[in-house]
Point group: C2
Chain length 149, copies 2
DNA sequence: GGTTAGATTTTGAATCATTCTAAACAGGGA
DNA sequence: TCCCTGTTTAGAATGATTCAAAATCTAACC
């Protein structure tokens, strides 16, 4: 059941693309819609399959292209775990990831500003960090206690 | 210039392997020696090339095997950045990684216990974490201010 | 309406790190 | 010596991702 984009999301898409001189296309809209529909950090393949349901002619390469474009204009983040397939996450707020060893599912963990600050403070002088990535590996009980948002 | 293992390192190798019922072999010793010689987080290929200098017949598959074995018995850690080749790190103390955007080099950053604790504390109840991975991305000035340990 | 330029999409081939497979090898007991 | 088991080896296979080139689309201009 893939809903259409809300007015707000569509504008967000259109503006973010415009900022880097790019346009909204039906494919990009479809891929973006899929990402927002289920925030379960899908792989490219999962996005591809879901988007196909609504746009059967869509090609895998296009999904790669769209996702790369979105990452480029800051609409989504990549999530990697070791060398497994890259996953995609439309949550823009600063957050860490928790990967469940058993299920492989990735959960978002809110990241308070003071924790970020204390992390940055461990860098010796001369190290300028633009981005921090934090991921936990372990077991999450009661899977849905903290929905995968 | 690849030195031999120190008495201490050799014992460490031998004991760690023994714990999981495995033996020291010339290949494992060579690979381990390479890892300790330059702690610059080499890729498998780099390890392979360095180890070849001292053991010309060594095969790439064996390097993969050795490194996997070492990871399995806790002698080394894998370091991943996005989907680039996996790198290997013989630093066992808890530490974060800082990846220099320009050079691609990875630096170890000491990780104080209290920072680890504050990180663990952001996990909602029900999330049990066994491992945390932290990596910074940015620019490190004066490359060797904090040697790659 | 037709034309052109530029971006976007598509298909299929290519790449590259890693894993797998099956055969050769080594070394320590029986 | 002969097994047994673990290890190494070479090469094939895998799988995610990227690339290349042709096809398509869109918007702007005439």
């Amino acid at each position: 059941m893939i809903q259409n984009l809300t007015e707000h999301d569509r504008e967000n898409l259109q503006e973010s693309l415009a900022k880097s001189g790019q346009k909204v296309t039906p494919q990009r809209e479809a891929v973006f819609t899929v990402l927002l529909a289920d925030r379960d950090h899908p792989t490219v393949d999962e996005v591809f399959n879901r988007a196909r349901e609504v746009m059967p002619g869509l090609s895998l390469a296009t999904v790669y292209n769209c996702l790369e474009t979105f990452v480029g204009c800051g609409l989504v983040r990549q999530v990697n775990h070791e060398r497994e397939s890259t996953r995609y996450c439309p949550n823009l707020a600063p957050h860490a990831h928790f990967r469940d060893k058993e299920t492989g599912r990735v959960h978002d963990i809110e990241l308070p500003a003071d924790v970020i600050k204390s992390l940055r403070s461990i860098l010796p002088p001369g190290f300028d960090s633009e981005a921090i990535e934090i991921s936990f590996l372990g077991r999450a009980q009661g899977g849905d206690a903290h929905p995968t948002l």
